[in-house]
Amino acid sequence: MEMMALWEILISASFWAAAIRIASPLIFATLGELLCERAGVLNLGIEGIMVMGAFTGWFAVYLGLPLWGGVAVAFASGMVFGLLHATLTVPFGLSQHVVGLGVTLLATATAYFAYRLALPQVTSPPRIDPFQPLPVPILSDIPFFGPALFTQTALTYAAFGLALVVGVVLYRTPLGLAVRAVGENPAAAAAQGLSVTGLRMGAVVVGSGFMAVGGAFLTLSAFSSFFFDMVNGRGWICIALVVFGAWRPGKAVLGAVLFAAFDAGQVRLQQTELGAVLPYQLFLALPFILSIVALVIMSRRAEVPAALMVPYNKGER
């Protein structure tokens, strides 16, 4: 009986459409984190930067900017906090754990402070007109795959496009080679005449921008409003997804979709007989438990960037 229910969920196009939708913000933020880590910097600011992006993107659109303007504002706000993180961790070489958590606390508190300041005494946050599904001509007419993959919002297509761009830049351009080099062996990269500080800071700043866009997806494409706690641990899950994806953009996207499929699945399973028997909290905890399990399985054979979390200081060896 349960197996039938599960099977029916798996063959429905709406389920896969939901999975792709849920995966989108994770893809943005995971790619951002991946970029930071490939350059050698663990960015625990991700959770707070996503909150910041969710707020600034939504607020910009609420003030009258077009949707893509909101995305740009979110990206910029992420870069600001990325710059803060990068300044403290790269040239000053401070603890990436503590700075990252500090940035998360600061970005979250600042977003909430600004929200309360801008909209005092509102009980339900104002809504904006979010991104609408944009069927791709011809492709969206394909049975099953059309409604599942090609009837998404523009921001979802952008997420997958970004994965392609990040992959190409990292593996097919001199810039990408340089970024990977400072994450693997900064001393050797510096001997080649590369600026370790510049490359690492650049990767963190741009990566943080992507994280903020991931947050903005929640307000601009998914929920059309800003709520407290709406990011709800997604940033931490993205850090697990980077490990799961073995620091490769393609595998990370695959991981995000797989994870999102579980998430979409647990929502649907709650509505079956299984949901009537088991507490709903178990279903909600599943994504977090799954992330921990994935970490354990993958950590044994993952190829961690050799200089991850190792600050580089010229003249110190």
Binding site: L44, L84, L88, P91, F92, G93, L94, S95, H97, V98, V99, L101, G102, V103, L105, L106, T108, A109, T110, Y112, F113, R116, L117, P120, T197, N232, G233, W236, I237, I239, A240, V243, P279, Q281, L282, L284, A285, F288, I289, S291, I292, L295, V296, S299, R300, N313, K314, G315, E316
Partner: protein, 348 residues
């Protein structure tokens, strides 16, 4: 630019930079209250007054500091060994759950049951951190992510408990646990003052942790592992077993925050028992420079800011989130100050 280590930093350097960090934080807070349309110095004055201005305010600050001393100690102990326990929130709730479970079962032997509630809480908290640490020592899984993710699992577990097995049948349908028996609450420290023995317990814990770190072999080993795990292993220190011991201690300390909140203040368990005490413990520990006695001072400071910001917000209309910004800024400035007190910046 490049950093140059200073072999023996002067005490002006060692204490001057952290002092500067506090000054810089106050400046940021002033700017923010100005942005919010309030008089900067008046806002700061209101925060100080709200935290210390009356007997009631001071008691409130002490009560708020109690769980922060425990979580601050938990983080300080772990960070000293470079064990990144970001899961104090989950360990706090594990302690609170155990306190309720033992405290609501009828035994009739009060003098035995109250200490057992505390011990049970410690065991539960230690167990919660044991998992991530074993994953770290056995499989090399980063404990930052596992402890962070587990916070969410724990909170959902608590949510289930207070709606299901532990739910108060007399609670008018609210998701809260059956209250701990009146006889099993922590007594007040001074008759007539609303301050429970959880605060005294926290002070004792701080002194004990300080003695452990300064006077015992384990304290020495924890420091050695934190400074350089490879060198410590080379010197014959059993690094993994030191990490496990540190974890048990850290998890147990965080759980005592849950115990004291339930047995000392609230009496029952709810989903919002902790407004992030576990995460704030990280700020407390860093502001204290990871020193156990410093944790007490830092916890009082942080608690004062929260309590003061609450009353300031009512009076001046500046959002209470000012307190959270202030503390995050203080944390970042303090880390920077610590770096600058040990390194000299060379521009070239």
């Amino acid at each position: 630019m490049r950093l140059e280590a200073i072999p023996n930093p002067s005490s002006l350097r060692r204490y001057g930079f952290p002092a500067l960090a506090i000054v810089a934080t106050v400046l940021v807070a002033s700017v923010l209250s100005w942005v919010a349309g309030a008089e900067p110095f008046a806002t700061l004055g209101l925060i100080v007054k709200g935290a210390t201005g009356s007997r009631l305010a001071i008691l409130e600050t002490l009560n708020r500091a109690t769980p922060l001393i425990f979580t601050g100690l938990a983080v300080a102990v772990a960070f000293r060994a470079k064990l990144w326990n970001i899961g104090a929130e989950a360990q706090l709730y594990a302690g609170a759950v155990m306190t309720v479970v033992i405290g609501t079962s009828a035994w009739g032997v009060v003098w035995l049951q109250l200490p057992l509630m505390a011990l049970g809480a410690v065991a539960a908290g230690a167990l919660v951190l044991l998992g991530p640490v074993l994953l770290k020592t056995r499989f090399g899984v980063d404990e930052v992510v596992t402890t962070l993710l587990f916070n969410f699992v724990m909170l959902l577990f608590v949510s289930w408990l207070v709606e299901g097995p532990l739910k108060d049948p007399m609670g008018m349908g609210w998701p809260k646990s059956t209250p701990v028996d009146r006889d099993l609450r922590l007594p007040r420290m001074v008759e007539g003052l609303r301050l429970h023995w959880g605060f005294g317990l926290a002070l004792i814990a701080a002194v004990l942790v300080w003695l452990m770190q300064a006077r015992t072999v384990l304290g020495y080993e924890i420091r050695a592992v934190g400074q350089n795990a490879r060198a410590a292993r080379f010197a014959g220190i059993p690094v993994n077993s030191v990490l496990v011991k540190t974890a048990l201690l850290s998890g147990g300390l965080a759980a005592l925050a849950g115990f004291s909140e339930v047995a000392g203040l609230k009496g029952h368990l709810t989903r919002d028992l902790s407004p992030g005490f576990g995460y704030t413990g990280i700020i407390v520990a860093m502001l204290a420079l990871l020193h156990p006695l410093g944790v007490v001072v830092a916890a009082l400071f942080v608690a004062g800011i929260f309590v003061g910001a609450d009353s300031m917000s009512r009076a001046a209309g500046v959002p209470t989130y000012l307190a959270d910004i202030l503390l995050a800024v203080a944390l970042l400035f303090m880390v920077l100050a610590l770096g600058l007190s040990r390194y000299r910046v060379v521009w070239k």
